[in-house]
Subunit: 254 residues, 2 copies
């Protein structure tokens, strides 16, 4: 088992940002100011083509840390961020760009490539969670959530299906193809985002994936708009979802 090595630290507005590695996997941990009591942890999965410190990740982390006092961790997915791309990564990305340029559906390529990345990423996430729970400010007895849309869902559903430490999750915006069977194994509370007018993922596909979760408590949020138009207020909703399920009140911004 690899332990967690911090490689850089900074802080702003009461939120601490620490870069870390677990083995070869680089990550970032956002935390409340030092000295706060131990707190729940939210793992976040970034979108395809993005990375652990994409503004969407940093923005959601700020809401979760400032609003609820959670710790928030993101790792770069294989082939993303500070990680090397393999020849296979380059080939799949080229194929995706070719399909886009040709006006062909990108779903089949994204589904296939993300399924491959998920196979690599799930054990990386589990090792990262092991290492994060060794930190005194996190520990192994606080609840853990997972928050990931798009590729973050392609990796997150297989992760949550096998990881009993994760007790609540926010997913959304992915095709059901390879994920339905994994979603059927998930019973923890779920919030699931879809775009009603998604030009890539059909309504039927999005609804089929939501339907598959075995969770007794699951909520679908469908918003008018295209794939990239997921409203900002869904991030606020996710914060309240985690506050409810990981046991924290939400403090509104001053």
């Amino acid at each position: 088992m690899h332990s967690l090595q911090f490689t850089a630290a900074s802080s702003s507005n009461g939120m601490v940002e620490r870069d870390f590695t677990v083995g070869d996997v680089p990550g970032v941990l956002w935390s409340p100011a030092p000295g706060a009591e131990r707190a729940p942890l939210v793992l976040m999965g970034h979108g395809g083509g993005n990375h652990k410190k994409h503004p969407a990740m940093a923005g959601r982390a700020r809401l979760l840390v400032a609003g609820c006092g959670f710790h928030v961790a993101v790792i770069d997915a294989p082939g993303h961020g500070d990680r090397p791309r393999t020849a296979h990564d380059e080939q799949e990305i080229a194929e995706l760009f070719r399909a886009r340029a040709a006006g062909e559906p990108e779903g089949p390529i994204v589904v296939r490539y993300n399924a491959h990345l998920a196979e690599l990423a799930v054990p990386e996430w589990r090792a990262t969670l092991d290492a994060l729970q060794e930190l005194p400010e996190i520990g192994a007895d606080k609840p853990v959530g997972y928050f990931g849309i798009n590729m973050g869902t392609a990796i997150g559903i297989p992760l949550v299906a096998v990881e009993p430490r994760i007790t609540a999750a926010v997913f959304g915006q992915h095709w059901p193809d390879v994920l339905v069977e994994k979603a059927k194994q998930i019973t923890v509370p779920i919030e699931f985002d879809m775009q009603w007018d998604d030009e890539h993922i059909s309504r039927e596909a999005a609804l089929a994936l939501f339907d598959a979760f075995a969770s007794k408590e699951k909520t679908l949020h469908a918003n008018a708009g295209r794939h990239k138009e997921l409203p900002r207020f869904e991030a606020d909703s996710a914060v309240r979802f985690f506050a409810r399920h990981l046991g924290r009140a939400v403090t509104p911004p001053a």
Copy 2:
């Protein structure tokens, strides 16, 4: 035009409750403590077989008044609460109970009866809104919202379709049959609740009604569970929706 007559008043925990009539229509107005500045107004429609002061109405009103400082008004629908039942009301209610006891679908009866009640209720609501806007603590220049589920949606969709003063609405849990054409006329922001495992309203029916709204901003919230299991947190979500669209911050409970 009938003016509004107050018939009773009380207050508790900083919320004022005043019974009123507008012509023959009895209503209740919940408001912040006197002396607050003028504030937006939320009209609420109660469910079938219920009335203006049903606990669901009083509970939602408390969230809206305490959380956002809104005024909240509910009127008894025709044949409901303190209003007399006609022979037609009695006949439709008997037919509904008969169908329920026989295990027949209740949709066709509820759709037909609620459409009849909506024809009566829409002009009543518009006259009530006229009268409420004459009150100095409300006025005619503050935004107005509408919040009604079940029968509150059967009455609310035709109301919002013709009432330009209402600029945001929360609906849900009704059949699309007679409402789709009215929903197509609605362009204001909408939040729409459905139950994913509703034993009365099929998924396809609920999704068809949500789909019909012409609103550029519309959000579907679908929760696992049966017809009567709409989660309490959807009322909190509605409060935040009105805070966003009627221009108020949400103050969390102390």
